[in-house]
C-alpha cells in the first residue's frame, strides 16, 4: 500500500461572473481567426477587470485553444491579472531614470501609507499598487500613474499626498468604490 497522502489542492473557486454576454460577443468577433489568444485575453480583462479562472475554460471551449495555452499566456505577460484589482491602479515607475532618482522611496512611502505591498489592493478596493518597468516619462522621474493621470518629479511624501487627495475625492463622489468597475 502506498502512503496515505492528503490532497491539499482544491479546485479554484470563482467569484460569480454574472454576465458572460459581452465575452460571448468578443469571442464571436474573433471566431476562426488565428493568433487571437492575446487580444481575446486583453478583451476579457477589459470587460471583467481581470481574468477569473472559469473564463479560461470558456474561452477554450469557444476557440478550441487548450486551456493550458491560455493560462500559460495569461501568466507569462505582465499585463494580465488573475485577481481582481482596485478601482484605480497606482503604477509606480521603476525604470532606470526613476530608479536612480529614488523611486523606491516613493514606493515604500505609498506602501506605508496604504498598508499594502506591491501588487496588493487596499481593503476598500480603491487602489491597487503596482511597480512597473518604465512609463516612458523618464524626464519627469520619478513618476507614478494613477488611473490615466501621470504625476512626475515626486517624493514619497508628495505621492502620498496626491493619493490621499484622490481618496478623499473618491469617497465623496461614490459610496461603494468596490463595485464601481
Amino acid at each position: 500500500m502506498r502512503i496515505n497522502r492528503i490532497n491539499k489542492k482544491t479546485p479554484p473557486t470563482d467569484p460569480t461572473v454574472s454576465n458572460f454576454s459581452e465575452i460571448d460577443k468578443l469571442l464571436a468577433e474573433y471566431k476562426g481567426r488565428k493568433g487571437t489568444v492575446i487580444p481575446i485575453l486583453q478583451g476579457v480583462q477589459e470587460i471583467l477587470g481581470y481574468l477569473p479562472p472559469r473564463v479560461f475554460q470558456k474561452i477554450a471551449d469557444n476557440t478550441g485553444i487548450p486551456v493550458s495555452d491560455l493560462y500559460g499566456v495569461a501568466t507569462f505577460y505582465a499585463q494580465f491579472r488573475l485577481h481582481p484589482v482596485g478601482k484605480l491602479m497606482i503604477k509606480v515607475c521603476h525604470g532606470t531614470a526613476c530608479h536612480v532618482q529614488n523611486a523606491s522611496a516613493v514606493s515604500s512611502a505609498i506602501e506605508e501609507a496604504l498598508g499594502v505591498k506591491d501588487g496588493e489592493t487596499t481593503s476598500d478596493g480603491l487602489f491597487t499598487l503596482e511597480s512597473v518597468a518604465c512609463l516612458g516619462c523618464c524626464s519627469l522621474a520619478p513618476v507614478m500613474m494613477i488611473g490615466n493621470d501621470t504625476y512626475g518629479k515626486l517624493t514619497g511624501a508628495e505621492a502620498v499626498k496626491i493619493i490621499k487627495e484622490i481618496r478623499q475625492k473618491e469617497m465623496s463622489t461614490t459610496s461603494d468604490p468596490v463595485n464601481n468597475k
Binding site: 500500500m1 502512503i3 492528503i6 493550458s68 500559460g72 507569462f76
Partner: protein
C-alpha cells in the same frame, strides 16, 4: 536525394543529412552529448543547456540539440570550458531542486542501506527479496534488526509530522530477516566464479563477517581468524542474549559460511597466529579486530575487588557460559551508553536486588537507545542522573564497600555539543554497593603490531594517537599494501552498522587490490538532498500525510524477564508489518535508477549547493489517479508539455508563469484529470527526472527493475513494450522502440493496465467445480477429464473457441485439436461471432504505419484512436503537428474523445449507408478512378450495376447526412491528396468494411503511398484468428477446409488419415443447444457481452464447459473445469498485427502455471493421438508447413447487400482488456 553534409566532430569527419542537428549526428557516430531537454520524438527546443558544444567561428557555446549542421562545421563536444558549463548548468538546476534522491533513512544509514527499497518489498511480502536488498549494504539483517542503534529511525521524517516515533524500520527488517532465516528457500546472493584469491580476515565480528560476505560474493576465498572460541565478536561477547539470541547470530553467520567463507576460532594474531604465515598463504589481509579492552572506572580505589569493566563482565559470562550470581546484591553500573544498559539489565537478570545506573548527565544526554532505557526502568533499574563516582571505598580486604559520588550540574556545552557536567560543591554522598560495572568506554588492543611489522616486507602498520589502527580514511588501506582495516579497531568504539559500513569500504578496496586496480575510494554518486538547500521543517510537512500510529514491538512481560530470553518478540504477523511499512513516507525519489539529472550530476561532479539562494517549493500534485507531478524535481525541459502537444495532441500540460517562477501544470489549478489528458503516460516517458511519474498503487521502492521485452498484448498494433519487474512483481510498462513502435510510445491500456499482472487472484492450477465449490486438481486429471467428456459426445457436439489474444501457436493448436483430434470444424471465436467474413481482407488493406507521417488528410471513422490504437493515434497527431494535417472525425456517437482534436466532426447515423452512398455518388457521377479500376480490380461492372440500381436517396437518408454533405465528403476524400480513411472493426461492420475497401479502390487510392485505407482490428491477434484457421470453413492460411490439397497436407503433417468435412454455424449450434462440450480458450463472452443475460443463457446450454483464462472471469464462473492460462510473455510465440506483420517474441518471464497454455494444448493434442510439440518455435515450424504457397491476390470490388453490424461483445471479448478499461474507468470517476 539531398547531398550529405560533412562536418568534423572532435576531429572526426562525419556525414549527416541536411537539416540534422549536431546532437543527432554525434549520437549516431557514438559521441555522447548529455541533454535533459532533448527528446528524439520532438522538435528541438534547447532549454537545459547541457548539450552545449563549441562550434568554430561561433560566439559562446551552441546547444547541439538545435544547432543544424553545415558543411565544414568544426565541433568540439568536450573540453574543460564545455564541461564547466555543463557542470554549472547542472548546479544551477540543482540549486532549485528541492528534492531528495534518497530518504533521510538511507542518507543517515552509515552503510547506506536502501531502506525505502526494502520496505517496499516487505510491504509486498517479498521478504527474501528484501533481505537480498538489505544484504547489498548489510549482510547481518537479523542481527541489526535487533540491536542496531537505528540512526535511520531518528532521521525519519515521520517525526516531523508530530508523531512520537519514526517508522519502525528495524522492526520490519527483523521481521523480514527472520522470515528469510526460517524460509526453506532463503536468500542466497549471486556468487561470482572463484578467483583463486585468498584473504585473511582478522576477527569474526560484524565487520569481519561482512567483509567475508562481500569477498565471497566476488569469488574470493575469505578466511576469518577469530581469537575467541566462537565467532561473532561483540555480537556474541558484548551483547547479552536477551537482546540478541546466539542462535540467531549463528544462523546469520551460517548464511555467510555457506557461501564458502571459513572461520578459524581460537586464532589470535600476534599470539598463536603470525603475519609471517598469513603473508605467505593469503593475497590480502583485512583487520577487523574491534575495540574490546574495557576501560577502568578511573577513580581512586577502582582496583577494589568486585569492580569490573562492563564488557569484561559481559564477555566473561559468555566465555564461561555461566551467569553471574548477584542474588540479593546491589550493583552500580557507571555510564550511559548501550553497554551500560546491557550491564544493568543483565545484572537484574543475574538476580541483583538493586541496580543503579550512575550517569553524570541527564537522561536526555544518554547515548543509549531510549527503548533500552525504557525497558530497563520497567525491569526495575534505578537511575542516578547528574551523579559521578569520585572514590571507591574498600573494606580491609580490598573488597568493594561503597562508592562515593558527587552531584553534578550541567554547564557550558563541550566539543560534542552536549552540556558539560560540573560537580556541585559539597554534594558528595556514599552509595553502598556490592558490585560496580564500569561501562565508560573501550580501547583498541593492538598486540600484534610487532609481529606484523617484523614480517611486513613493504610498509609498516601504524597506530594513531588514540591507539587505533591507522588507515586511509577513504580507502581503509593501512600502511602495508594489501592490508586493510575496518571497524572499531580503526574508528574506536562505534556502532555495529558503522563497522559494517567500514567493512564495505575495506572489502571494496581489497577487491580492487586483488584485481590489480589502483585502490580508490568508492565512486560517489550524486545524491540530491533537501537538506542541501534547507532542512525540512514540520510546517513543510504539515497537512500532507495522514497520521498513522506506529506498530509497537511486542515484548516479554516485565515480570517474565528474570532470564535471558529474548525480550523483544518481533512483529507477530505480516499484517502488522505491512501496517508499519505503510507508514513509510517514501521520501526518496522513484526515479533514482532512471534520472538523467542524477546521472549527469554524478558524471560532471556537480555540487548541489554550489549556488545557494532562493528555491521553489511545490506540493506534489497526485490528483490524477495514474500520474503525479512533482514540480520540485522539474528542470523545465518542457518535454512533457511538448510530447502532449506534438505527439498526443492533447496539450493537457503547459507552462505557468515566467522566469524563475515558471512551473509545469495543467491550467488554472486544474487537475490533470480535468483536462484532455488521455492518460497515455507519454509525459512520464518524456520526463528526464522524477518530476512526472506514475502514481502507482503499491510502494514503488524504487527497486532495480528487470526488463521483460514483449509485444503489446492488449491491442492490435503489435507495438513493442518492456514490462519492468522486480523478481516477478511488475512495476512499470514502457514503450520500446522497434519496427512498429518507431517512437517508443505506449498507451493508457498497457501503461497502467500492466498492474493487472500483479493481481494475486491469478488462476495457476486447474480447478474443478464440485458441488458448487472450486477444488484444485492436477493437470493430469483435468486433461483426462476433458478427453473423457469430449469422446463421449459426437464430434460436432463439441465446440472450440479461441480468443484473439492467444498467440498464433496457441490458436493453431486449438484448431488442430478440434479438427485433427475431435474431427469437428466447430472452431470459432466469440470475437467475430456472427459478424460475417467481410473483415477478412482488412489485414492486407492498410496503409503502412510508417507512411502515416506524410498523410495530409485523415478521415477517421468510428474509432477511439488514442485508447485503442496509440501508434496510429500518435502518428496522426504528429502529422497534424508537423504538417498541419487535417482530421475529419466521422462518428455515430454524439460525443467522442476525438471531437476536440478534429478539424471537423461529422455526425452520421450509419457508416454502412454512408459509405455505400458515397460509392454510389462517385460511380454515378463518374468520378471514379477508371484507370486504376481497370488495372487492378475485378467485378467493376457487376458492382456498379448492382449499386446504381439501389435507391441512392434511401442510402443518403440512412446515412444521417444530407445529400450535399454525403457528396461533399465523397469529393473531399476523393480529391484530397494523401488522404487516408481510418476505421476500426470495433465500430464498423464487416459489410461497411467491405464498402470502405470499395471506396478506396473506386477512388484509386488503395495501394498508393500515404493514401488509401487503414482498417484496424480489435485485439492483439485478431489477425491470427483469420490466419490460424479459427473459422469453421477456413483453415490455416485462410485455406478452405474442403480444399483436398490442403486436407491432404494437414493429414500428412498431423499424422492422421481423416478430417471433418462439414462445417456448421457455431452461433446457431450454441443458440440451439446442440453443443454438449464447450471449450473456451482465452475469451470472456459472459463478461464482455453487451447483453450478458442472453449470452450467459446461451453458454449455459452446453453441458460441460471448459474455460482457460488468467482470472476468475464471469465466463470462468460458468465453467465446470478451469484451466490456468499463461501470459504470452511467459511462453513466447508470435502475434500477427493488424497490418499482418507476424512478430515472434520470446518468453521473458517464468511461467506461473506449471503447464503453459501451449503446453496444455499440446498435451491435449497428444491425448487425442496428435503428436504435438510444446515449444512455440516448434509449433510455428509445424504451422508453416501447412501454409499455402504465396499467391498474388486479385483485388475486387465486392457487392454487399445489407449491413451486418452484429457485434455482441465489447473489449474484443478479452477479459484482460475489459479489466484494464474497467479499472481505468473506475479510477477516473
Amino acid at each position: 536525394m539531398n547531398d550529405l553534409i560533412k562536418i568534423i566532430i572532435d576531429g572526426k569527419t562525419i556525414q549527416g543529412e541536411p537539416g540534422e542537428t549536431i546532437l543527432n549526428v554525434a549520437k549516431r557516430s557514438g559521441i555522447n552529448i548529455p541533454t535533459l531537454c532533448h527528446d528524439p520524438r520532438l522538435d528541438p527546443y534547447s532549454s537545459c543547456y547541457l548539450c552545449v558544444v563549441e562550434v568554430k567561428g561561433m560566439r559562446g557555446h551552441q546547444p547541439a540539440c538545435s544547432t543544424g549542421i553545415a558543411e565544414g562545421m568544426e565541433v568540439t563536444t568536450n573540453n574543460e570550458a564545455i564541461r564547466k558549463s555543463r557542470r554549472t548548468a547542472l548546479e544551477l538546476i540543482l540549486s532549485n531542486h528541492y528534492a531528495d534522491c534518497f530518504g533521510p533513512c538511507r542518507q543517515t544509514c552509515p552503510a547506506g542501506a536502501d531502506v525505502q527499497g526494502y520496505i517496499s518489498l516487505i510491504d509486498k511480502g517479498m521478504y527474501t527479496e528484501a533481505v537480498g536488498l538489505i544484504k547489498e549494504a548489510n549482510p547481518l539483517p537479523a542481527v541489526c534488526g535487533r540491536v542496531c542503534v537505528r540512526p535511520c529511525e531518528a532521521a525519519c521524517r515521520r517525526l516531523l509530522l508530530g508523531e512520537p516515533y519514526g517508522v519502525g524500520i528495524d522492526y520490519m527488517k527483523r521481521f523480514a530477516a527472520d522470515q528469510d532465516l526460517k524460509s526453506a528457500d532463503h536468500f542466497r546472493p549471486v556468487v561470482k566464479p572463484a578467483t583463486g584469491k585468498k584473504i585473511a580476515i582478522i576477527g569474526a565480528g560484524p565487520g569481519g563477517l561482512s567483509a567475508a560476505y562481500w569477498l565471497q560474493c566476488e569469488g574470493h576465498q575469505a578466511d576469518i581468524f577469530e581469537a575467541n572460541p566462537k565467532p561473532g565478536g561483540w555480537l556474541r561477547y558484548g551483547i547479552p542474549e536477551y537482546r540478541l539470541p546466539n542462535d540467531i547470530l549463528d544462523q546469520e553467520i551460517e548464511r555467510i559460511t555457506e557461501l564458502g567463507a571459513r572461520i578459524f576460532c581460537n586464532q589470535k594474531l600476534g599470539d598463536n597466529l603470525s603475519y609471517a604465515d598469513l603473508k605467505i598463504k593469503y593475497d590480502a589481509v583485512i583487520l577487523t579486530i574491534g575495540s574490546q579492552k574495557g576501560a577502568k572506572l578511573g577513580v581512586e580505589g577502582d582496583d577494589a575487588e568486585n569492580v569490573f569493566s562492563g564488557i569484561d563482565f559481559l564477555r566473561n559470562m559468555e566465555m564461561t557460559g555461566k551467569r553471574a550470581d548477584f542474588s540479593g546484591k546491589t550493583v552500580a553500573v557507571v555510564g550511559g551508553g548501550n553497554t551500560a544498559m546491557d550491564c544493568c539489565r543483565t545484572s537484574i537478570r543475574c538476580g541483583a536486588r538493586k541496580v543503579y545506573v550512575i550517569y553524570r548527565r541527564t537522561e536526555a544526554e544518554m547515548p543509549a537507545n531510549p527503548i533500552e532505557i525504557h525497558e530497563s526502568k520497567l525491569e526495575g533499574v534505578e537511575y542516578l542522573f547528574l551523579t559521578n563516582p569520585t572514590y571507591v571505598n574498600k573494606d580491609s580486604n580490598g573488597k568493594l564497600k561503597s562508592v562515593t559520588c558527587v552531584r553534578m550540574e550541567l554547564g557550558e556545552p563541550d566539543a560534542s555539543g552536549r552540556r558539560r557536567p560540573v560537580p556541585v560543591k559539597d554534594s558528595e554522598f556514599d552509595l553502598p554497593v556490592d558490585y560496580i560495572l564500569a561501562a565508560i568506554g573501550q580501547k583498541t588492543e593492538v598486540t600484534f603490531l610487532d609481529d606484523v611489522n617484523t614480517h611486513a616486507s613493504e610498509g609498516q602498520l601504524k597506530i594513531t594517537k588514540w591507539g587505533d589502527v591507522e588507515a586511509d580514511r577513504l580507502t581503509l588501506q593501512t600502511g602495508i599494501p594489501g592490508m586493510f582495516a575496518a571497524g572499531d579497531g580503526v574508528t574506536g568504539p562505534a556502532t555495529i552498522i558503522e563497522a559494517i559500513a567500514q567493512a564495505r569500504i575495506a572489502s571494496h578496496s581489497c577487491i580492487q587490490y586483488l584485481t590489480g586496480e589502483p585502490v580508490t575510494p568508492l565512486r560517489k554518486e550524486f545524491i540530491s538532498r533537501k537538506e542541501a538547500l534547507k532542512t525540512p521543517e514540520p510546517d513543510m510537512m504539515a497537512g500532507k500525510y495522514e497520521n498513522q500510529v506506529r506498530m509497537e514491538m511486542p515484548v516479554l512481560d516485565a515480570a517474565d524477564r528474570f532470564n535471558f530470553n529474548e525480550v523483544e518478540l518481533g512483529y507477530s504477523s505480516e499484517e502488522t508489518t505491512r501496517h508499519e511499512a505503510n507508514r513509510c513516507l517514501e521520501c526518496g525519489c522513484g526515479a533514482i535508477y532512471t534520472c538523467d539529472l542524477k546521472k549527469y550530476a554524478t558524471e560532471y561532479e556537480a555540487v548541489q549547493n554550489h549556488y545557494t539562494g532562493g528555491f521553489k517549493e511545490y506540493d506534489v500534485d497526485f490528483r490524477h489517479p495514474f500520474i503525479e507531478i512533482d514540480n520540485n524535481k522539474c528542470v523545465l525541459c518542457s518535454r512533457c508539455i511538448r510530447i502532449c502537444r506534438e505527439v498526443v495532441g492533447a496539450s493537457a500540460l503547459g507552462l505557468v508563469n515566467r522566469g524563475f517562477d515558471t512551473f509545469v501544470a495543467p491550467a488554472a489549478g486544474l487537475s490533470l484529470s480535468d483536462t484532455h489528458c488521455e492518460s497515455c503516460g507519454l509525459c512520464i516517458s518524456a520526463c528526464p527526472t522524477g518530476a512526472i511519474s506514475e502514481n502507482v498503487p503499491f510502494k514503488p521502492g524504487p527497486v532495480k527493475l528487470t526488463e521483460a521485452p514483449t509485444i503489446d498484448f492488449m491491442g492490435p498494433e503489435g507495438f513493442e513494450v518492456d514490462l519492468k519487474h522486480h523478481k516477478g512483481f511488475f512495476h512499470e510498462a514502457t514503450g520500446r522502440k522497434g519496427i512498429i513502435n518507431h517512437m517508443g510510445n505506449i498507451n493508457r491500456r498497457l501503461k497502467f493496465g500492466y498492474r493487472l499482472l500483479n493481481n494475486t487472484d491469478r488462476i495457476t492450477k486447474p480447478m474443478l467445480r464440485q458441488d458448487g465449490q472450486w477444488i484444485e486438481t492436477s493437470f493430469e486429471n483435468a486433461l483426462s477429464l476433458i478427453k473423457e467428456k469430449l469422446t463421449t459426445s459426437r464430434p460436432d457436439e463439441n465446440a472450440f473457441f479461441a480468443g484473439a489474444r492467444l498467440t498464433n501457436e496457441e490458436q493453431y493448436l486449438v484448431q488442430k485439436l478440434a479438427r485433427g483430434g475431435l474431427k469437428t470444424n466447430n472452431i470459432s471465436s466469440f470475437h467475430y461471432l456472427g459478424r460475417g467474413d467481410g473483415y477478412l481482407p482488412n489485414g492486407d488493406f492498410g496503409v503502412p504505419f510508417n507512411d502515416l507521417h506524410g498523410v495530409n488528410h485523415f478521415f477517421i471513422m468510428g474509432c477511439d484512436l488514442n485508447t485503442d490504437y496509440p501508434v496510429v493515434s500518435f502518428l496522426v497527431e504528429n502529422a497534424r503537428f508537423k504538417n498541419g494535417a487535417r482530421l475529419v472525425n466521422i462518428t455515430t456517437a454524439s460525443e467522442t474523445p476525438l471531437d476536440y482534436k478534429a478539424t471537423s466532426t461529422i455526425r452520421v447515423k450509419n457508416y454502412y449507408a454512408l459509405l455505400k452512398a458515397m460509392n454510389h455518388y462517385l460511380l454515378h457521377a463518374g468520378k471514379q478512378n477508371d484507370m486504376y479500376l481497370k488495372a487492378v480490380s475485378l467485378n467493376v461492372d457487376e458492382y456498379r450495376n448492382n449499386l446504381l440500381s439501389q435507391d441512392y436517396l434511401a442510402l443518403v437518408a440512412n446515412s444521417g447526412l444530407s445529400q450535399k454533405d454525403v457528396e461533399k465528403l465523397a469529393d473531399d476524400y476523393n480529391l484530397s491528396s494523401n488522404a487516408v480513411l481510418i476505421f476500426s472493426e470495433k465500430e464498423i461492420s464487416s459489410a461497411a468494411s467491405t464498402e470502405a475497401a470499395n471506396l478506396a479502390m473506386i477512388t484509386g487510392k488503395h495501394g498508393k503511398t500515404m493514401m488509401g485505407l487503414l482498417p484496424l482490428r480489435e485485439n492483439n491477434n485478431s489477425q491470427g484468428l483469420w490466419d490460424m484457421g479459427i473459422r469453421p470453413k477456413l483453415g490455416v492460411g485462410q485455406q478452405s477446409i474442403t480444399d483436398p490439397q490442403f486436407r491432404a497436407k494437414l493429414c500428412k503433417t498431423w499424422g492422421i488419415n481423416n478430417l471433418p468435412e462439414t462445417s456448421h454455424c457455431t452461433r446457431e449450434l450454441l443458440e440451439t443447444g446442440k453443443i454438449n462440450n464447450l471449450l473456451i480458450f482465452g475469451e470472456d463472452p459472459a463478461g464482455c457481452a453487451f447483453d450478458k443475460p442472453e449470452i450467459t443463457k446461451m453458454l449455459k446450454k452446453a453441458g460441460f464447459i471448459v474455460v482457460m483464462d488468467y482470472f476468475m472471469t464471469p465466463t470462468a464462473q460458468l465453467a465446470d473445469l478451469l484451466l490456468p492460462a499463461s501470459f504470452p510473455f511467459e511462453t513466447g510465440g508470435s502475434f500477427t498485427n493488424t497490418q499482418r506483420n507476424a512478430q515472434p517474441f520470446q518468453a521473458t518471464m517464468g511461467c506461473k502455471p506449471e503447464l503453459s497454455t501451449p503446453g496444455q494444448l499440446a498435451a491435449l493434442c497428444n491425448q487425442f493421438g496428435l503428436p504435438t510439440p510444446q515449444q512455440p518455435e516448434e509449433i510455428f515450424i509445424e504451422m508453416v508447413q501447412v501454409l499455402p504457397g504465396k499467391k498474388c491476390q486479385q483485388l475486387s470490388l465486392l457487392t454487399t447487400e445489407t449491413d451486418n453490424s452484429a457485434r455482441r461483445f465489447d473489449f474484443g471479448c478479452d477479459a484482460l482488456v475489459r479489466m484494464a478499461d474497467e479499472v481505468f474507468k473506475s479510477a477516473m470517476n
